[in-house]
Symmetry: C2
Subunit: 243 residues, 2 copies
Amino acid sequence: VNEDRFAPNVSVIGFDGDDTLWHSEDAFARAQDQLVELLAAYGPGTDVLARLREVEHRNRDLFGYGVKGFMLCMIETAIEVTGGQIPATDIEGLLETGREMLARPVELLAGVAGTLPLLAERYRLALITKGDLLHQDTKIARSGLAELFETVDVLSEKTSDSYLRILRRLRIEPEQFLMVGNSEVSDVWPVVALGGWSVLVPYPLTSLHESGLSTRPSSPRLRTVTRIDELPALLSGSSGTDA
Amino acid sequence: VNEDRFAPNVSVIGFDGDDTLWHSEDAFARAQDQLVELLAAYGPGTDVLARLREVEHRNRDLFGYGVKGFMLCMIETAIEVTGGQIPATDIEGLLETGREMLARPVELLAGVAGTLPLLAERYRLALITKGDLLHQDTKIARSGLAELFETVDVLSEKTSDSYLRILRRLRIEPEQFLMVGNSEVSDVWPVVALGGWSVLVPYPLTSLHESGLSTRPSSPRLRTVTRIDELPALLSGSSGTDA
């Protein structure tokens, strides 16, 4: 099959932050393990993680994404699972876990530090993340990458509409835009739906269920890579298909 | 004294959201009253509000501004003031208070609904707020004012640098920009320092201590009004000085 070149007219590359440029999910996973351990004594039969997911789901419209909402949901889950019996000192421990997550140094994913300066020579770069605003701003500042980005946007939700607003501000058409991220739901489909391009870089810890919708993503406007340092070759056209 | 006209070349008016366009501080005040009442039984001599301020201050760099951080600080204060003795069911009550704050309908301040459409006929309008990102986005959507704004920015901190980035994006010089808000620290001085203009609309509940720095703000680039519907007359030049 003689395929068209991938993303030929792209002038701006958008990058997701959490679990695309730097580690994030691993800290949530460790905090959840601690919560499970803490609550195990109160009800050995309880699926604590399932209860936490329920609490997160019903608070999503109020809390959004990010560590602060996660802290509040851990506390709510702990109170609920223990029937109000959990001591306040254990809740203080959950607060401390969350504060440590917020204060944690930024650890870039493999290949990021070397690849982004290369791409910045040929493309305008935009950082497009979601989560707690201050925490995202802090991580961007700590990442050492801030200078490489023409614009930084922290969104409460990544939809086609929110991407379109950014593209208008950048004065580009969707076919000139490529989004790189680890989430199908947030980084791939809203952009592909506009007529833009996307590269999915799955984060090892993110399960299929959490990352998105489909079993195997497929679109001529989408490629999947395992590390971000595969991007320059992919964009220079030397890489072939997604199969 | 024959004064120069106020803000003669302004083309964009920026508005703060919380306590400038809609009520916010009053809900924080009510929640604080509840916390004081809740903790009164544990230590009659304790200045609960002072302890809450301390907790907020030491968490500011991690939590930023907004209801979620405030909820976490109320919980931390309650645990600290009671020496870990507060029952988890009371903490659940604090979570509920916070959720109510987040779910609360937007109540516009007097004069806002009538004045902003008038100003939108003559000026480009920008909304520039800080706080929890999703909560701010939700309030903007609920305010019924979203269509009037060319751009919406939620910032983690309002500094001269962050205003300058917005002005560049809007492609205007500082002297073409007027910021309207209730906070000297956030809405007045960072803009005036750039060479822009500002109108301070103090919120009745905001004490001098919380609102800013000085006892009586003074700059030829600043006016103070009591209600936002004084703006059209002020900008048409029919209003005189700030004295």
